[in-house]
Symmetry: C2
Subunit: 485 residues, 2 copies
């Protein structure tokens, strides 16, 4: 025991009786009083929850519904196409033994798992070719986290088509608006935004289908906030595809927990020590809260025409157009000159790709297959294709003229033929951009190309029709059944 | 088509032939060449993986093995005690329907689930009372993520006691060393470090039990890096307890995926756009890589003697010592003066708690129950307890004298009795600190107190014996079976 210093009785009792008597406290204590808190920010989590809970399917504008159906079709094609990737075999071998009752399909495969496992697996396959949809403002791939989750959920509880499409749109709104609020700083920190923002989209969309009330939806978004997935360093590894899969699964689980009353902080997105603080150096919450139900990020979704990085797309677009307009085969080409932004070299400058995956990072390979095959789909990035003598020969004839004054979405191409002719092509906006969107027939061609080795043609055709007509389905889960082998 | 600007043929071919011919590029391009990269950091992920793969159970020092058994016993007691919390009922209602084959027990309950679901649930219950172990250097609660994962895994594949304890230690080393490398900046950003670093501990420990090789272990840590869970804003909500649960589950899944060859970036922890960059503003990787196998963070684990925030512990310790030394009952106390660090008021200054949970944030309640009951376990923080007239009366007689010169781990207390006596107590290091650790009998009393309403006394006794003797078990999974009701 030691001697206690003299105690100021008045101060002591002042504190003990009310803890409000700061005037009676010794000055040493006053100096410790924290500064007044700044005014609370807008209740972002709650505003978003209220919007998602109240948004009605019949209020969706026609263009948004149309784009959502295109998003769905593109998603299903990518997931079917990726379903035989070795990453899927590994994930199924690792996680399948722990799956619950078979309730939901893995698109493009015969296995059925519980909805949580199925959501994860479909999210992985939808992204494994890097060929999925892109919200260009944030580089989020919106479909994977959201549709993987709600399609699995729709196999457990019957969901009508309009309700399904509404949930899809609300999920995309949620993830893309949160992404807008923190892009590009969040992305620059190292986050793979498709996983880190995607979890909110999955939670919101699943919560909508589960009929959560505003309080539950707030908790669902809060539970999701603690479970962001994804780092950019994983690009080039299988874990990149794990990100949308886990985002789908975590969001689904967040909604299911919230439905049972499992609580989370109600300002988890915007509050002190919350998601925005921890995961971004800047936040503009107005991007989340303003114009809800008036403007739709879901209407701004785009689809890759080519199965490789977006900086290669103007060059590939030019190559394919020149081929088709001039019936080129590749053999008559002497040289190709691509006048492009320097990013094309720094991101895709690989001159001598050894694998199909490396081919995606070789603008020379990309342009060569565009000129020879008029396509740059997944089959143009096989290991065999990068060794094809015609492709190897042509890619060595492709040269770059780099110029920072050329925006990344544009390019010019000059093709000199062995017979002396010179062909040129200017690309103002590459195919797949908002200004030059993939047409519905182009999306169907992409789908068919992805599905060809997985599903019979007639089955792929029926699956596309289900996607286009999703709003007429009384059971949206049929899409998942139809996509199984 | 547009006219292509003049092309410098030499530059073009220089690039096309080798992409190394920077000297031939136009100056506009040269200006875009990125600066040389800094030298690569130490391969932290791989060094850690190599250590975990190679570390042998028989190399563990005796003090580390002893502390690991204490960690195990404390973990089991906390998980059993928390097993009937409503958060557990909700989580089981939400996730149980999707569980796979019943392979693993939920401690303190009758339900059995697949090992992934069980790992999650045990992680939740171990933390739901905020009564678990603490690595004081980082405020990580090491047991929850690691033991929840390996105890479930040990129910799927038989694991001997020494092997189990070794995995436990290696998991704790992994999470605490990574925590050391980024604390306090990571914590200050908003991360709940038990979840965000805990996932690495679970991955390493499960990977060890699965016998991963160095490459697989590197992937397991890499997959874990993408799946950090936990925000500080969740403190006070059920999602705080979700964090160690999900960390356990994500780490287990990471190890299972890596075992199948699922790849991740091999510098996911330390690399550009990796975990350290995204989740902390400072990193000291030497904390991870130096002294592996020589010094053990697992030997620095501590255990809460009281079921409330650590700043209240010196005051409670003083109250209990004065009570026990003077056979006080509370009724004879006129006033209590607690001379303490101002944090005691700012973190636990609630004068009139209405619920048991609020009682944990009231130093006045804490001191009162310490004086009356000689304890501040979970049952001293029931809703009924904060309404007990004796407790209410005494807590209004407790006053604070705050002084920043008093370190948070110390305090002085003066108790004036109605008969005029004055009792004093100085606390140099509160019970439960590294300097004044909980003794084995104290840990047993805590365990018994937690288990009392869940398990019969004889069963609790046998369970404690299994934990103390874990190294003699040929099947560590028996602990989980013995902890079920």
């Amino acid at each position: 025991m030691s001697t206690l210093p003299t105690v100021d009785r008045r101060a002591l009792l002042g504190v003990a009786s009310a803890l409000a008597g700061a005037g009676a406290l010794p000055s040493a204590t006053l100096a410790q009083t924290p500064a007044p808190s700044p005014p609370p920010p807008a209740p972002v989590t709650r505003i978003l929850a209220r919007y998602v809970v109240g948004a009605r399917a019949d209020a969706l504008p026609a263009n948004v519904r149309k784009e959502a159906a295109r998003t769905l079709l593109n998603y299903v094609g990518c997931a079917v196409g990726g379903s035989e990737h070795e990453a899927m075999d590994m994930a199924i071998a690792a996680l399948g033994p722990f799956s619950g009752k078979a309730q939901a399909n893995v698109l493009g495969r015969r296995e059925r798992f519980d909805i949580s496992t199925a959501a994860f697996l479909n999210g992985v396959s939808s992204h494994v070719f890097d060929y999925d949809d892109t919200h260009l403002k944030t580089i989020i791939h919106p479909g994977g986290p959201v549709i993987s989750a709600i399609l699995a959920l729709a196999q457990r509880r019957k969901v009508g088509g309009p309700e399904f499409l509404n949930a899809l749109v609300l999920g995309v709104e949620t993830e893309c608006r949160i992404g807008n609020a923190v892009y590009p700083e969040h992305y620059a920190m190292g986050w793979h935004i498709t996983g880190s923002a995607g979890v909110f989209g999955a939670a919101a969309a699943c919560g909508k289908l589960l009929g959560l009330d505003e309080q539950q939806m707030t908790w669902a978004l809060g539970i999701a906030a603690s479970q962001s997935v994804g780092l950019k360093i994983q690009f080039g590894s299988m874990t990149k595809s794990l990100h949308p899969g886990r985002a789908a699964q975590n969001g689904l689980m967040a909604a299911l927990l919230a439905q049972q009353g499992f609580t989370a902080n109600e300002a988890a997105i915007e509050g002190k020590d919350g998601w925005g603080q921890a995961l971004s150096t800047r936040r503009n919450w107005a991007e989340v809260t303003e114009g809800l139900g008036e403007r739709y990020e879901a209407a701004l979704n785009t689809y890759k025409p080519f199965a490789c990085g977006i900086v290669t797309h103007p060059g590939i677009d030019a190559a394919i157009q020149l081929r088709n307009e001039n019936r080129l085969t590749g053999a008559e080409v002497e040289t190709v000159e691509l006048h492009a932004n320097p990013l094309v070299q720094s991101l895709t400058g690989k001159t001598d790709p050894a694998t199909g995956l490396e081919g995606k990072f070789s603008i020379f390979h990309c342009v060569a297959v565009g000129l020879i095959f008029g396509a740059a789909g997944e089959r143009q990035f096989s290991d065999a294709m990068v060794r094809d003598p015609r492709v190897v020969d042509l890619r060595t004839r492709v040269g770059l003229k780099l110029d920072a004054a050329v925006p990344p979405e544009k390019c010019d191409m000059v093709v000199r033929l062995k017979d002396g002719r010179v062909l040129t092509k200017h690309i103002e906006h590459a195919l797949g951009s908002l200004e030059q969107p993939m047409t519905d027939p182009m999306l169907e061609t992409k789908f068919s190309d992805l599905a060809r080795d997985v599903l019979p043609d007639a089955k792929a055709r029926r699956l596309m029709d289900l996607c286009w007509n999703v709003e007429k389905l009384d059971d949206a889960g049929r899409i998942a059944v139809a996509a199984a082998v």
